[in-house]
């Protein structure tokens, strides 16, 4: 017997200017696995949005589409520009994507080289690159770590440097994949404070519902390659049926 789920409407925060628009995005991996079918969402200037959903829901896959690392069917627009092959470099400097494992994100021997990688590849001048590295490290409060070796850092430090590696590109949208995974309580607290203070639009995938409750006014729930709910976090966290249906827990 086919079951139809009624998609419940949640209220959304006020919006002033779109930073990101995704429309009807479909994607299958080369092995045939259908990871996204028909994802649509919109992010507004200054939004801080949590992206939640069970393992395998397609969160990471969606994020890889936001700056064109994966190309599915459908539309991705960043700051009004439709993502195409030609404006890829421009889009990539606007969308700062931080991957789940900081060991993959930090691929250079030293912190400085890693934070400088983005600005250098945007073609900025040497002074500008250096200035950006300094201000990005300042923003994540890691200025003292400029000349450290990446492999000497703790997980929490690596995560903060990983965020600096994209902040140095001055993105208009920060996309973080599970930033709090693997952190001890203190490092997690530091990260939360950091994310709260960053004056930038962000989309953050996480399994950490406490983090969602504390930090993000808006939440998007994904499951099986689809957006199943999108609205104010307080409303979504109250909907126990929704949470249970998608393997989430109320914090």
């Amino acid at each position: 017997m086919p079951v139809t789920h009624l998609k419940k409407q949640f209220s959304l925060p006020e919006c002033s200017g779109d930073v990101l628009t995704v429309q009807d995005l479909h994607f299958s991996y080369p092995d045939g696995h259908n990871a996204l079918h028909g994802v649509s969402l919109k992010l507004c200037e200054g939004d801080k949005v949590a992206l939640v959903g069970p393992n395998g829901a397609g969160k990471s896959t969606l994020m890889l589409h936001l700056n064109g690392i994966l190309n599915g069917h459908g539309d991705v627009e960043v700051a009004g520009q439709r993502l195409t092959r030609d404006n890829l470099p421009a889009i990539r400097s606007m969308v700062g994507l931080v991957f789940q494992s900081p060991d993959d994100q930090l691929f250079s021997p030293t912190v400085f080289e890693d934070v400088a990688f983005g600005p250098l590849h945007m073609g900025l001048s040497e002074e500008e690159v250096r200035a950006r590295v300094d201000s990005a490290l300042e923003a994540v409060r890691m200025s003292a770590y400029r000349d450290r070796l990446s492999h000497h850092l703790s997980v929490g430090e690596k995560k903060r440097i990983a965020i600096a590696t994209v902040l140095s590109m001055k993105p208009s949208l920060l996309v973080l994949d599970e930033p709090s995974a693997g952190l001890d309580p203190r490092a997690r607290r530091t990260l939360i404070n950091l994310l709260r203070d960053l004056p930038i639009t962000m989309l953050v995938s996480t399994h950490d519902m406490k983090l969602v409750q504390e930090l993000f006014p808006r939440t998007i729930v994904m499951d099986e390659g689809k957006v199943v709910a999108d609205g104010l976090t307080i409303e979504i966290l109250e909907d126990e049926a929704l949470l249970n249906a998608h393997g989430l827990e109320k914090p």
Binding site: V95, M122, L149
Partner: protein, 263 residues
């Protein structure tokens, strides 16, 4: 687990630590070439080279023991050269019987053998000093500036970065193997050699796949930050006057070594 056993850099606030890495690389290589050029039994040359080494060591504030301890590394290889003791014609200095051979150590052979060891011993100490006073990423920059092809220096930089991550993985794999192959004390555990080799090979295969997939994720992280096939780097080093003077000084000393070695 953090794997720091591979770090060779030794932080100190010394003249040598502040020297431009290019200078250090070039002088090290010239020094080693010079040792190789010194004829056998060039005792004055060897002595002078050693004095230079001690001087460099003093400028590093690491202490003589630091390099001395580590310099024994190449010693096992001396076995390879042992035959020159007997094979080079000269006046016999020592004769003995070993297993089924009558062996005669000649004076020329002895000079040759000791010369090889001294050359190796001096050279390896300078190489030890080089990495002790230069952070490896700076060494990579130096190679870049000395016209080593970018693709090689880039591979070396990645190798250095992921050395630590992947050896961590190896140790996790090894520990997991140990945990599963508990044996009754005194007996050898786990099947024959072939079986053990197969387990080791599977570990290598597994490590390969993980590394392969990791390289994909790293590629994504690079692309996300604007990489499109060409790598850009900044030059963080600038030659100062002390760097030039140090190079000139070292070259003079090494040249004098060569002359002394020929008297």
């Amino acid at each position: 687990m953090h794997f720091d056993a591979f770090d060779r850099y030794h932080e100190k606030d010394s003249f040598l630590h502040h020297l431009d890495p290019r200078v250090k690389v070039v002088v090290t290589i010239v020094f080693i070439v010079s040792n190789a050029l010194l004829p056998d039994a060039a005792w004055f040359g060897f002595l002078f080279a050693w004095i230079f080494l001690l001087l460099v060591n003093a400028a590093s504030k690491l202490g003589v023991a630091y390099t001395l301890k580590r310099s024994l590394l190449a010693l096992p290889f001396a076995l390879i050269a042992i035959t020159v003791l007997f094979s080079i014609p000269g006046k016999p200095v020592l004769q003995f019987h070993f297993l089924m051979w009558d062996l005669t150590v000649t004076d020329m052979g002895l000079l040759r053998f000791v010369s090889i060891l001294v050359r190796s011993w001096l050279s390896v100490q300078m190489a030890i000093l080089l990495v002790a006073v230069t952070r490896f990423p700076d060494l990579i920059h130096a190679l870049e500036h000395l016209r080593v092809p970018a693709i090689l220096t880039t591979i070396i930089a990645f190798l250095y970065r992921y050395l630590f991550v992947l050896t961590d993985e190896v140790f996790r794999l090894l520990r997991a193997r140990e945990a599963r192959s508990a044996a009754v004390p005194g007996t050898r555990s786990g099947g024959g050699v072939l079986w053990r080799a197969k387990i080791a090979g599977n570990m290598a295969g597994q490590l390969f796949l993980r590394s392969y997939e990791r390289s994909d994720r790293i590629y994504n992280a690079m692309v996300a930050r604007g990489y499109s096939g060409h790598l850009y780097t900044l030059n963080p080093h600038e030659m100062k006057s002390t760097d030039y003077f140090a190079t000139a000084f070292a070259i003079v000393v090494i040249f004098v070594t060569q002359i002394l070695g020929r008297f």
